[in-house]
């Protein structure tokens, strides 16, 4: 019997390391194969649909469609059909500014958002008129009154709109109630859209499997649970877990910031011969749990009502016309893609514009005579 061969320490260490490395490699391969074989659970579209913008923090990327084929951006980065920058003759152009409630989060196609439905309703009403109505959906998910104001000034004026509808309160209210250290320019809460650099361990399928569930940049788990807020807020945790927010009440300086943005919208619109239209927003009535939200949004809605009254601006009081109800709304603020939901919103807005004769005013202004338009 041969004597037992002694293995030197360096060899033992080497063999151990090689064995561990091989085992690790095997597990990595297994995880990778598992990821390949598993059905695709889908990833977030947001890193693909939006990009950084020097003046609006983020903006839709032109000519992009989401994976579900529910929303697409045209060559101007607007949701819906392609439009010409230069307004065609005998066209009355209406732009709808706002956040996700204008963009149409609940709409299953681009043609079922409230601006698209309103366009159809107005075209039906003015079908015998000598002009064509064009409604542009300029809503961008999560935009507040300031971002819409900058958007209006920097890009939408290029489209020579005749009427501009502002539909804001909810996103402003959310910033004001939940974000810490309020600044009137929202700069403590909003940051420029950025994708964080990929971490070194995210190249490993195994480590990604263990730790990268919420990562935006992981190649194996591509941001399945990441929403837009992750990419545009200084503290995205507040969006994910409301308990981490400020949970405060609306302060006077917050109301003043909203008022100032709304007033500036009206001033800029009028300085550019555009008829401004203000609107209020509907929010879930949280009175049974303190009513903090409904109070705050009502204060902002009152700002719009007051400005509309003092500046003789048309108002669509949507909050009163269509209060929250569980049938038409699928969450605290967004409407379902149903006749009682987005279609009703569009009808209320169309009726509001017809009642205030906004379209006729544009026509009269353009042709310098009393309108003979009949709806």
């Amino acid at each position: 019997m041969s004597p037992k061969t002694a293995i030197s320490l360096p060899k033992r260490v080497t063999f151990t390391l090689v064995a561990v490395a091989l085992a690790w490699l095997c597990v990595e391969m297994l995880v990778l194969v598992n990821l390949w074989l598993r059905p695709w659970a889908g990833g977030s579209d947001y890193p693909f649909l939006y990009a950084a913008h020097p003046y609006r923090a983020y903006a839709p990327v032109p000519n992009r469609t989401d994976r579900a084929r529910q929303k697409s951006f045209n060559s101007l980065g607007l949701r819906g059909l392609e439009i010409a920058i230069r307004k065609p003759a005998d066209t009355i152009r209406i732009v709808c500014l706002g956040g996700s409630t204008t963009f149409g989060d609940g709409a299953t196609t681009d043609s079922t958002t409230y601006p698209a439905r309103m366009e159809r309703l107005l075209r039906g009403w003015y079908r015998e008129a000598p002009f064509r109505i064009e409604v542009i959906n300029a809503g961008v998910q999560s935009y507040n009154s300031l971002e819409s104001l900058i958007y209006f000034q920097t890009r939408l004026l290029d489209l020579s709109p005749d009427i501009a509808i502002a539909h804001h309160a909810l996103n402003d209210g959310w910033f004001m109630l939940e974000m810490f250290d309020f600044q009137s320019d929202f700069s403590t809460a909003r940051r420029t859209f950025t994708l964080p650099p990929r971490k070194w361990w995210e190249y490993s399928p195994l480590l990604s499997c263990c730790f990268a569930v919420g990562s935006v940049t992981n190649p194996y788990y591509p941001a399945r649970f990441v929403n837009l807020n992750t990419l545009i807020l200084t503290n995205p945790m507040i969006a994910m877990d409301p308990r981490k927010g400020r949970n405060g009440e609306m302060e006077p300086q917050m109301v003043a910031a909203f008022e100032r943005n709304t007033r500036s919208f009206v001033s800029i619109a009028r300085a550019n011969q555009i008829i401004p239209v203000l609107s209020t927003q509907t929010c879930f009535d949280d009175a049974p749990v303190g009513g903090r939200w409904i109070r705050a949004i009502e204060r902002l809605n009152n700002v719009s009502r007051d400005i509309a009254a003092s500046e003789s601006v048309g108002l669509i009081d949507f909050a009163r016309a269509m209060p929250w109800n569980p049938v038409d709304y699928y969450d605290p603020t967004h409407l379902r893609d149903t006749l009682g939901g987005l279609e009703r919103q569009a009808r209320l807005f169309a009726e509001g514009l017809i009642a205030m004769r906004a379209v006729e005013q544009v026509w009269e202004r353009r042709h310098g005579k009393k309108s003979e338009v009949r709806g």
């Binding site: 950084a52 003046y55 000034q153 420029t192 001033s267 300085a271």
Partner: protein, 354 residues
């Protein structure tokens, strides 16, 4: 195999150490280490970092991120507050101290003139190098209105003209040239002293061993610029028309927002040396548009381009004034005389009393 890699690794390490030594004791170590004085802003590309002074020690930024001494957000009683908006010509890059900028001179002249008027005068320098009329407008809307100004002076034309002539394309929101501010951190390879030394031209201003001084503010906030093929005559005309339209609408919105918030707007033209090139043509057209808006909207107006044409004694480059009596001080005097002549300070004081 091991013996092939080992000397290579040791050799690399030695070279890294030598490069580090160079950074520690070489000429780079003797100069002052610059601080980054700019930070990104989601709505206007960049802002100054509060409390920081530039490398030369000439310009410092107060707690409101603006050049000059500190001031309270709430306007003191019986005070007429004037904000000066603009780019580097308002920031006054030629001024050797914060008290020699044109807004600081303007404040002194107005205080002397209204010494017995029963109200105080406070002039805020809200100029940011590189800012166009659009960025000034956004700054005004988002931050300056917090300070309850009584008078707001808009002094933009040069940077708008620059944005129209230094890029191959043009977009009305200036997104053809501007990008979000960055990069603000060193790239991963910059942590290697050897690579930082070898590729010094490609480093960032925040390189851990030696800040890249060739990357300035313009480099940080623009996509490729200056490399423009000459435009055909018709394209030039069209570009000029667009630039004038965009400037005009920003100026008009500035006037509208000012008036909606009870602020008296003042418009101005800007001076640059006339080289007879495309830039000069666009600037002249932009100045003309501002004149036309001031006349049409009945806005008080300082025609600085005509009051102080370019001359080599007062200007040290194409558009920036020297820190001397016939330079920035003269500019302060021209603006003060225009404000006094238009009676806007008295008007603002009366409004304040009401």
């Amino acid at each position: 195999m091991v013996f092939a890699f080992l000397p290579l690794a040791i050799g690399w390490l030695v070279m890294e150490c030598l490069a580090l030594l160079y950074f520690w004791v070489g000429p780079v170590a003797r100069g002052p280490r610059p601080q980054m004085i700019y930070s990104p802003n989601p709505y206007r590309v960049y802002e100054h970092i509060a409390g920081r002074t530039d490398e030369s020690g000439h310009a410092s930024h107060n707690s409101q991120h603006l050049r000059g001494r500190d001031f309270a957000t709430a306007k003191p009683a019986a005070t007429v507050r004037i904000v000066c908006l603009g780019g580097s010509t308002t920031y006054s890059v030629g001024a050797t101290t914060d008290t020699h900028t044109y807004p600081a001179h303007l404040e002194r002249f107005l205080r002397v003139h209204y010494a017995k008027a029963g109200f105080g005068i406070e002039v805020i320098n809200a100029g940011h190098p590189g800012y166009t009329s659009l960025e000034s407008l956004i700054l005004f809307q988002t931050r300056l209105l917090d300070f309850s100004p009584d008078v707001a002076i808009l002094h933009n034309c040069l940077n708008d003209s620059w944005m129209a002539t230094n890029f191959q394309t043009y977009a009305s929101d200036y997104s053809h040239g501007r990008h979000t501010f960055g990069p603000l951190g060193p790239r991963p390879w910059e942590y290697s002293p050897l690579l930082s030394l070898l590729f010094a031209r490609a480093t960032t201003p925040l390189n851990p061993y030696a800040a890249n001084r060739m990357v300035d503010l313009i480099g940080l906030m623009h996509t490729r610029w200056g490399d423009v093929k000459p435009l055909a005559a018709q394209a030039r005309q069209e570009r000029t028309r667009l630039a004038v339209e965009v400037l005009g609408r920003n100026v008009l919105s500035f006037v509208a927002i000012s008036r909606a918030n009870g602020v008296i707007p003042i418009l101005t033209t800007e001076t640059a040396s006339d080289a007879g090139d495309f830039y000069s043509q666009v600037l002249a057209a932009c100045n003309d548009r501002v004149r036309a808006i001031a006349a049409r909207e009945a806005v008080a107006f300082v025609d600085f381009a005509r009051e102080m044409p370019w001359n080599p004694r007062s200007f040290y480059d194409v558009c920036h004034l020297r820190d001397r009596p016939d330079g920035l001080e003269q500019k302060g005097r021209i603006f003060a005389n225009a404000l006094i002549g238009a009676g806007v300070v008295e008007q603002a004081a009366r409004r304040g009393r009401r």
